[in-house]
């Protein structure tokens, strides 16, 4: 359990807290990590909401990834930057927490998250309630030492079907072992939904880059995720099918895609990704 509260934990300190209502917190992105995907910024927001909700409900339950109506990504966060996270809890009950959040890095808004819902599951199934309580007290007090996060591996994605300008399908091989499984979660390792989203965004960006729609040298960024819904957990070692269907173009600078994840034909997750093209000049 060496990676517990470090390998996939993105709140160093909770600086303001009203249980069941709102929270503010910080996370220092370690200088040495090769990359810090925007989906990890969303994870940080979700984790701060989770800390608030778990404490409010006395560590009986913990939220897991469920729904996000809309995630808006700003500029990519650079290693070494500090995230200032704010969450506003709309409802917090034994079956779900709903919240909105924003994250700034050095005064620049890097993420906004609207109407997210985390279904609650029994804490005992995922982690030690007493260990979680102790950690929460540390976060609310002096804070956890920064620099614990060691980075995440690049997702192992292989394209298996491609219809130019329309559709791409790929296989995602979830690692059998990874440090983040020690933290997410100690008693039941689950492939994080935010890493799944990162893999999906990467596939969508790669496919956008292959399109003849854009001039050579165009750069792309995922700017919005819409209607994300996680339907089931993914265990270590599973193989998932990711698909991306590109909507007919309706905006000269954007590409909108419907996306989904399947395992053995059954839907694991669905959502939409908006890619924005930026000229290289």
């Amino acid at each position: 359990m060496s990676g517990h509260f470090s390998a996939y934990s993105f709140v160093d300190r909770i600086t303001e807290l009203q249980p069941g209502k709102y929270a503010k917190g910080e996370f220092q992105v370690p200088v040495r990590v090769a990359r810090f995907p925007s989906t990890l910024v969303a994870e940080a927001a979700g984790q701060l909401a989770a800390w608030n909700a778990m404490a409010f409900l006395e560590y009986k339950v913990r939220p897991v990834a469920g729904l996000a109506s809309e995630i808006r990504f700003g500029p990519e966060v650079r290693p070494g930057q500090r995230l200032d996270i704010a969450v506003s809890i709309d409802t917090c009950e034994l079956d779900a927490v709903s919240y909105s959040a924003s994250v700034d890095a050095e005064g620049v808004r890097v993420l906004e998250l609207d109407n997210s819902v985390g279904p609650m599951l029994p804490m005992e199934e995922f982690d030690s309630p007493s260990a979680v309580r102790e950690r929460f007290e540390l976060l609310c007090g002096p804070g956890a030492p920064s620099g614990r996060f060691q980075g995440v591996p690049q997702p192992d994605v292989e394209v298996v079907e491609r219809v130019p300008e329309q559709r791409v399908v790929a296989m995602l091989r979830v690692p059998k072992e990874a440090a983040f499984f020690d933290d997410h979660f100690p008693r039941r390792p689950v492939y994080p939904g935010t890493l799944l989203l990162d893999a999906h965004i990467g596939l969508s960006l790669q496919f956008a880059g292959e399109s003849k729609r854009w001039p050579m040298g165009t750069r792309f960024a995922a700017t919005r995720v819409l209607g994300m819904k996680m339907r089931s957990f993914t265990a270590p070692g599973e193989i998932l099918e990711l698909w991306v269907d590109v909507d007919p173009p309706s905006d000269p600078t954007k590409s909108k895609c419907k996306t989904g994840v399947r395992r053995n034909g059954k839907t694991v997750a669905t959502g939409g990704i908006e890619i924005t093209a930026r000229s290289s000049n």
Binding site: G66, L67, E93, L94, N115, K229, T270
Partner: protein, 140 residues
């Protein structure tokens, strides 16, 4: 509190149907008033959660979590409603009276408590919305 009337149900149905179609990613034409969301439209538990939040936003109402199941049980004590995860005969009577939109042949026994949501139809959610509107009106 007065039960939802047919007119009230019909009034909310188009928005409820669109909300269900958006939540499940299906065509709105598939969302008939009497379709079972789980058996007819492949809804899962996360979809019910999604749907309740979407209905709250669409109708600007507050739907307490677990409201359908709670209302379905009514004033029947939990011990009389279910035993070892199975709905009792008294519980079945209460469910039949509450879920009037569900055909009698779908109330098969033994019925697990966990399977009660399988009975829910589009009309169940229309009634949920109308009851929430009634509650909001009563509250002032």
């Amino acid at each position: 509190m007065a039960e939802p009337t047919k007119q009230e149900i019909q009034a909310v149905y188009p928005t409820v149907a669109k909300t269900i179609a958006d939540a499940l990613g299906c065509d709105v034409d598939q969302v008939k008033l009497d379709v079972s969301l789980i058996e007819g439209l492949d809804a899962e538990s996360i979809d019910f959660l999604d749907l309740v939040f979407r209905l709250e936003r669409a109708f600007k109402i507050k739907i307490p979590r677990g409201k359908i199941v709670e209302d379905a049980r009514g004033d029947l004590p939990e011990a009389e409603y279910e035993q070892k995860g199975i709905v009792t005969e008294a519980g079945m009577q209460r469910l039949r009276a509450f879920l009037t939109e569900v055909p009698a042949d779908r109330f098969t026994t033994p019925l697990k408590v966990a399977d009660v949501p399988r009975l829910f139809t589009t009309e169940t959610f229309c009634k949920l919305v109308v009851r929430a509107q009634h509650a909001a009106a009563t509250a002032g």
